[in-house]
Amino acid sequence: MKAKIHITLKSGILDPQGKAIEHALETLGFTSASNVRMGKYVELDLKETTKDRADAEVKAMCEKLLANTIIEEYRFELN
């Protein structure tokens, strides 16, 4: 089973990288883009084959290491 994990700064926390990207997009004429958030993407293979258990395992990985939940939020897909 493969997990695709997205980690971004929580909404409400200033994201200077997102802001810089937004500004660059604007400069290039992409004026319709707003609220740019820069994040991280982690992809990994799991030995686990049960969806429920895989879900719990990836959640634990995110809580313990992959995301710092003081400043970040995460979401993931399993397939």
Partner: protein, 238 residues
């Protein structure tokens, strides 16, 4: 006194710390490899600056799971003095030994320059040699020093006098302009509620002797040494 300096893969200020402890303070400085699991015979621990594990994932995120960190946690919980400088501060935050987290600098730049910090609390084992309100000129060198915490934790830090250093002007005014990285409430250094763990972004080990043209950082090391001596004396008398 015996000072242990933890060496993570990617630490690069460990030798500066070892030098200050041995040559400036005249104390025993012991490098401790991150694979160690026990901290025996040490009176204080320093987590030095650098780029542990290449700053991969987040600064300090991987170093906090180094084998030695279990022993550092035990050492701190038993009241041992722990000082985290720059990356060491980031590791203490990730390890939960200090509250909050680091965001990328507001400017997105790595900032390496002298800044001024105000000693907000001189009644700590790390600042006993400073005056309250004293301004220290100390260099910073980081990309992730933009301290963040939730409003409840910030209020607790303020109420318990846990904010030890704030970025300020050379005159000691804490202003937004004097804040180099966007840090919440101009925070440059905090301690834990118990008072025995301190983290700060500036580098006192880089300005601890006259030959370098600035010895403001020595005050922090001298404070630690004095506090340790007093604690030892107390134990001996008891």
């Amino acid at each position: 006194m015996n000072f242990g300096v933890i060496v993570f893969p990617g630490s690069n200020c460990d030798h500066d710390c070892l030098h200050v402890i041995s040559s400036v303070l005249g104390q025993k400085a012991i490098p401790v490899w991150h694979k160690e699991t026990a901290l025996t015979g040490l009176d204080a621990i320093i987590l030095p600056g650098g780029f542990s594990y290449g700053d991969y994932l987040r600064t300090g995120a991987i170093a906090r799971f180094s084998p030695v960190m279990g022993a550092v946690k035990t050492f701190a919980s038993e009241g041992g003095m722990v000082l985290g400088i720059c990356n060491g501060f980031q590791i203490l935050l990730e390890a939960g030994l200090l509250p909050g987290a680091m965001l990328r600098n507001r400017s997105l730049s790595f900032i390496c320059k002298d800044v001024h910090i105000k000693v907000e609390n001189a009644a700590t084992p790390f600042t006993g040699h400073c005056e309250s309100g004293q301004v220290l000129k100390i260099p910073i060198a980081h990309a992730d020093g933009n301290y963040y915490t939730d409003p409840v934790t910030l209020a607790a830090l303020q109420a318990n006098a846990q904010i030890i250093f704030r970025f300020c002007t050379p005159e000691g005014k804490v202003t937004p302009e004097a804040n180099p990285n966007g840090s919440l409430d101009n925070i440059a250094g905090i301690r834990n509620a118990e008072g025995n763990v301190l983290g700060l972004m500036p580098h006192p080990e880089r300005c601890a002797e006259d030959v370098l043209g600035n010895d403001a950082g020595r005050l922090i090391f001298l404070s630690m040494l004095d506090a340790l001596k007093k604690a030892k004396l107390k134990t001996a008398v008891a």
